[in-house]
């Protein structure tokens, strides 16, 4: 157990002095057990090359961002490089290493089979593994330690926890958006009450993460006013006559296009309510119609011709008066998360940006008076 004459001269017991006389023994690249965030690879590299660990970590993250190379280097070092002070590999370590090498080979085969050099496909997998480790670390408060097999196991556990909490969060978002916010809030309160009870009788600590996972989406939905009632997907309506135009259009999530360009609106006001929980609502109006608009937006924006506004808790109001004898469409928008867009034409996609380019400002100026005046002067194309 203790040092034997067979042991190499590279000190079996740790030296109490901090890294004395590196020239005394040949330098070895070992993972650092004292300076580590995950497996001590960056700490070991920094010690080996005499660099600041933070710089090495930044470099490793940069390499990871460049096609995942850093992650593969890190994983390889984790598998192949021993930790400092590590006991000679026993049967257990050998099994762990074999498992880790097997996982690495499988990942590499998957990467190559997915096309290219494989790095692009390995990157998401490696990222998931790192995310799993981070979640596991957060949940347990323990840094990953032990052999590579143990680290892989913990990464898988963390990933499972992440997937479970994500599923809960999505479920909470949908339930809250579809009107079940009261139920979700009650679940949050129940989880909180269970945790208070657990403080005295023990257990139930695991409820913290699921409770947060369902509480935050509900908070978002409640605050932004996202209303998913009304369906999902893409909805395009193009009424041909005034009688076909509804007073209100609503979509839960997706894209809602209300094309009124074929409708001949009579002089006077016509009100139109447009509601979208999350997504894009586009209203296309005839050229000779003035538009006034009000809207409440939880998070997102409103674009009405060349005017736009956005942010959180947006209260939009643009009430223009129309000259006598002109039709005015008064749009009342309700957007939870997304954009309410009013245009004359499908092609006006970049209207706000076009303000900064050189073009005839009157082309997009929707001042009703200007438009009517220009029509009155006979300068129209039909």
């Amino acid at each position: 157990m203790n040092s034997t004459p067979d042991n190499p001269p590279s000190s079996p017991t740790p030296d109490p002095l901090p890294d004395p006389a590196p020239a005394a023994a040949p330098r070895r690249f070992e993972r650092s057990s004292g300076d580590r965030l995950i497996g001590g690879v960056c700490g070991g590299l920094a010690r080996y090359f005499g660099l600041d660990t933070t710089l090495v970590r930044i470099g490793m993250v940069a390499l990871a961002a460049l096609g995942g190379t850093g992650l593969i280097v890190y994983a390889a070092a984790l598998i192949l490089v021993p930790a400092d002070g590590e006991v000679p590999p026993g049967p257990h370590d050998a099994r762990d290493r074999a498992l880790a090498v097997g996982v690495a080979i499988v990942l590499t085969i998957i990467g190559f089979a997915s096309g290219g050099f494989g790095l692009g496909a390995l990157f998401p997998l490696a990222l998931m593994a790192v995310a799993g480790l981070a979640v596991w670390w957060f949940a347990t408060g323990e840094r990953p330690s032990g052999g590579p097999g143990e680290i892989v196991r913990r990464a898988a556990q963390g990933l499972g926890l992440l997937v479970g909490c994500s599923a809960l969060a999505i479920g909470s978002f949908l339930t809250s958006g579809l009107g079940g916010g009261v139920v979700v809030a009650a679940l949050v309160i129940a989880a909180g009450a269970a945790l208070v009870a657990a403080a005295f009788v023990g257990g139930a600590r695991w409820l913290v993460l699921p409770a947060i996972a369902i509480a935050l989406p509900l908070a978002f939905v409640s605050a932004t006013g996202v209303d998913l009632d009304g369906g999902f997907g893409e909805r395009h309506v193009r009424p041909g006559t005034l009688a076909e135009v509804k007073r209100s259009y609503k979509l839960g999530a997706g894209e809602l296009v209300i094309d009124l360009r074929d409708v001949k609106l009579p002089a006077g006001d016509r009100r139109l309510k447009v509601g979208i929980g999350a997504g894009h609502a586009l209203v296309l109006v005839p050229q000779d119609v003035c538009v006034a608009s009000t809207a409440k937006v939880g998070m997102g924006g409103v674009v009405v011709f060349e005017r736009d506004g956005g942010g959180v808790d947006v209260d939009w109001s643009d009430l223009r008066r129309a000259p006598a004898g002109t039709a005015r469409l008064v749009i009342d928008g309700d957007v939870g998360l997304g954009l309410l867009d009013v245009r004359h034409n499908d092609a006006d996609h970049d209207v706000p940006r076009r303000r900064f380019e050189s073009f005839d400002a009157n082309e997009l100026n929707d001042s009703c008076a200007t438009r009517v005046a220009s029509r009155g002067s006979g300068a129209s194309n039909g």
């Binding site: 309160i189 909180g192 945790l195 913290v208 409640s222 605050a223 808790d313």
Partner: protein, 53 residues
């Protein structure tokens, strides 16, 4: 930690319940700090309960 997290979650849940029933309207400008404060309090309690490593 469980006690702090539980109390925070109960209070946060009540705010969410009131908002969901339209008894109280909290915009995202106010809800975001409340949510971050709740999560921050739980993390703080969690970190303090583990003690220095």
């Amino acid at each position: 930690m469980s006690l702090t997290a539980g109390v925070v979650l109960v209070v946060f849940g009540i705010v969410l319940l009131l908002d969901s029933t339209d008894t109280l309207h909290v915009g995202i400008g106010a809800m975001a700090p409340i949510a971050f404060a709740a999560v921050g309090a739980i993390l703080l309690a969690s970190g303090l309960s583990r003690g220095p490593r």
